[in-house]
Amino acid sequence: MNDMRILERDVDTNTIKIAARGVQVYYGDNHAIKDVDVDIQDKTVTAFIGPSGCGKSTFLRCLNRMNDTIDVCRVEGDIHIDGEDIYDKRVDPVQLRAKVGMVFQKPNPFPKSIYDNVAYGPRIHGLAKNKAELDEIVENALRRAAIWSEVKDRLTAPGTGLSGGQQQRLCIARAVATEPEVLLMDEPCSALDPIATAQVEELIDELRQNYSVVIVTHSMQQAARVSQKTAFFHLGNLVEYGETGNIFTNPEDPRTESYITGRIG
């Protein structure tokens, strides 16, 4: 199994999907992200790890300009996706977010039926030509998010009536249904049991065939299991970034080492 992973890693292309240079984020006077440079590769799972409050979510939200919705938030620096500056005036954040999907740290299903939750993105972007196609998209998305068997009999029930873990998988299905090129996942498994976690990890691995996935996680094991690249954040700095194997077996920075071995965070 492990050998296979390494084999796959070699196969991966080295095209850069997201390139960030000198990114600074301020919440009012709070300097939350300090001068971060990072290159995120296409068809790769990149894990962001680091102690709570170090800015993982904040940086993730820079990648699809979700920080625009926070009044006090200010982003500086360059972030390019496919060579295009996403903070350029000509870029429509709405189009960008259709391309860069997001699963949030807290499950946030809409107060609509399960079906309508998943169909929301495809409907907005006109991904389905007819009802049958939409049904298919919804079913596929729910299957990929490992929740189909649990909800197939109650697609018309409200999404808010599901358990926390089911809601999170519903949100994953919702994001997947829009067919993004990049999927940003903020602790997608924090509310899931081991079985669902394994299924989501399988999904992430599958998504890697076509997309670039960025996942924030507090579980070292998860980062090691699913990601090829790992970035370690600490107090708003990107301390270390590299091959997941290297980061976990042979970290360069003493802060990375002490975090991984459980001494900070």
């Binding site: 919705t69 391309k99 999907g101 949030f104 809409f110 993105g121 808010t160 994001a175």
Partner: protein, 495 residues
């Protein structure tokens, strides 16, 4: 100005209360031997406790006595009025009010020195012109004072005097007793703090129950008058009749239906104006406006809510009505060249202005409700590449819908109960018509008109006002309960 006996009683209670406060406090200190740490409560609490015992029962009894005494005395004096002087077309109640007036007049005459106390008690109409004496001190009477009335008035005064005397004795004694008791029980172990706490609780409960009791009282009085009405007038005509034609000589048609129709028609127009505008304003303010615009626009919008409704009524009568007439009326001279509207008062006039009045009501409630929709919900939608207006239409509004429905129902209940705008803007003709350019009338305007002018509270034409009021009350109460239920249910969803 000299105080009456009651004034002195109040003064005495206050003095006793203050004295009790200081005495209890110093007694508490001295039982602790000067070391207040030995006391169960801080010294002031012993003072408050004693003050409470002195003041509360005394003032309570004083108040009840003041309310009950006139009733009891009136009842006993009532019997003194012989059947003979209750003249044709008048009633005992009217004679009784004469008695009260003469009694008051005598009081004033004594106070101003026109009569001595003795004279006032013994004066006879046979010997003196009581009417002119009372007239000279400013109490004008409609007719000459009958000897029986004067006698009854004198009895009234005498009984009031004895009553007030005994009241003073009882109340002051009670205050002294309460103070003494509280001071007596004061010692280091007495839990004054807890007693004061209970006193505070009782005060709060009293305030809460007063509010509820007055509501109950209002409803009951409406109910009794309505029952009187239904004794005089068939309820089938009131609820199911087809016309409203009050006739003060009797035999009127008093059906609520044409009025209800006018009320609902005007309210619907008002809501058609207020709901879209109010809702859109709320959406703009809560979703798009920056903090600066918001802090400026919100108070401005809420100023609308502070305008007295009579001003809106004037606006309807003087501005909106004529403007509508110049559009829809005046034939060739009008804007459309039609002659559909003849007068300024019309359903449309009242509806439009009432709608304007309701805008801030709808907008500020909806604004709160929209703000209560969690940001994470919007984030979820934005994160899927939805635009702001798609997010509002498909996520925020559906999430806020129950709350908004509640807000609209509250606005509807205000529209139904609104009076001044319709009095001035809607007209006075009760009828069923679909034409919004015609004058119509509402329940509230009819209540006003049935109760103004010469009224006789024994005729169905007057009493119908209470039945109308009660129906209106039930209607708005139902709407409010429904609205609050919906709003509350919606709140639970996010808490």
């Amino acid at each position: 100005m000299a105080l009456g006996l009651t004034g002195y009683v109040v003064l005495a209670i206050i003095l006793l209360t203050v004295a009790a406060f200081f005495m209890a406090r110093s007694r508490a200190k001295s039982t602790a031997g000067g070391d207040i740490r030995l006391l169960h409560s801080l010294p002031n609490y012993y003072g408050y406790n004693a003050a409470m015992f002195a003041a509360v029962p005394a003032f309570g009894v004083l108040m009840i006595w003041l309310l009950a005494q006139p009733m009891i005395i009136e009842n006993s004096v009532f019997k003194l009025i012989p059947e003979r002087i209750v003249s044709e077309g008048s009633s005992r109640g009217l004679v009784m009010s004469d008695v009260r007036r003469v009694a008051e007049g005598l009081d004033i005459a004594v106070a101003q020195g026109a009569l001595t106390d003795d004279e006032a008690d013994n004066i006879r109409t046979e010997f003196k012109d009581v009417r002119s004496i009372l007239g000279s001190v400013g109490v004008a009477l409609g007719s000459n004072v009958e000897p029986e009335v004067l006698y009854a008035a004198q009895q009234y005064r005498a009984k009031s005097e004895t009553g007030t005397f005994w009241m003073s004795v009882a109340v002051v004694a009670l205050a002294a007793l309460g103070a003494a008791l509280a001071i007596f029980v004061t010692n280091a172990d007495f839990r004054a703090r807890n007693t004061v706490e209970r006193g505070a609780l009782a005060l709060l409960i009293l305030a809460a129950s007063l509010a509820i009791l007055t509501t109950v009282g209002i409803v009951l009085s409406m109910l009794f008058e309505s029952i009187n009405f239904f004794r005089l007038h068939p309820w089938t005509d009131f609820f199911f009749g087809g016309s409203w034609a009050p006739n003060f000589r009797g035999d009127s048609d008093l059906s609520i239906l044409p009025l209800l129709w006018g009320t609902l028609y005007i309210s619907v127009i008002a809501l058609l104006v207020a709901v879209p505008i109010g809702l859109f304003a709320a959406i703009y303010l809560s979703e798009y406006a920056g903090p600066k615009t918001r802090s400026a626009a919100k108070p401005l919008l809420e100023i609308l809510a502070g305008i007295p409704t009579i001003v809106y009524g004037l606006f309807a009568l003087l501005t909106v009505g004529p403007a509508l007439v110049s559009i829809f009326g005046r034939g060739e001279a009008g804007l459309l060249g039609v002659d559909w509207m003849s007068g300024a008062t019309a359903v449309l006039t009242a509806g439009l202005v009432m709608g304007i009045m309701l805008i801030p009501f709808v907008s500020s409630l909806s604004d709160d409700i929209i703000n209560a929709v969690p940001q994470s919900m919007r984030d979820g939608s934005f994160g899927l590449g939805a635009t702001h207006s798609e997010t509002i239409r498909q996520v925020v509004l559906p999430a806020a819908l129950p709350g908004i429905v509640g807000a609209v129902l509250l606005a509807a209940s205000r529209a139904i109960g609104e009076t001044m705008i319709v009095v001035l803007g809607a007209g006075a003709i009760a009828k069923f018509s679909l034409n919004p350019l015609e004058a119509m009338t509402t329940i509230t305007t009819r209540i006003v008109s049935q109760l103004t002018g010469d009224t006789d509270f024994a005729s169905p034409e007057t009493l119908v006002a209470f039945a109308l009021g009660l129906t209106l009350f039930v209607l708005t109460l139902g709407l409010n309960v429904l609205a609050l239920y919906i709003v509350r249910k919606y709140r639970e969803q996010y808490e």
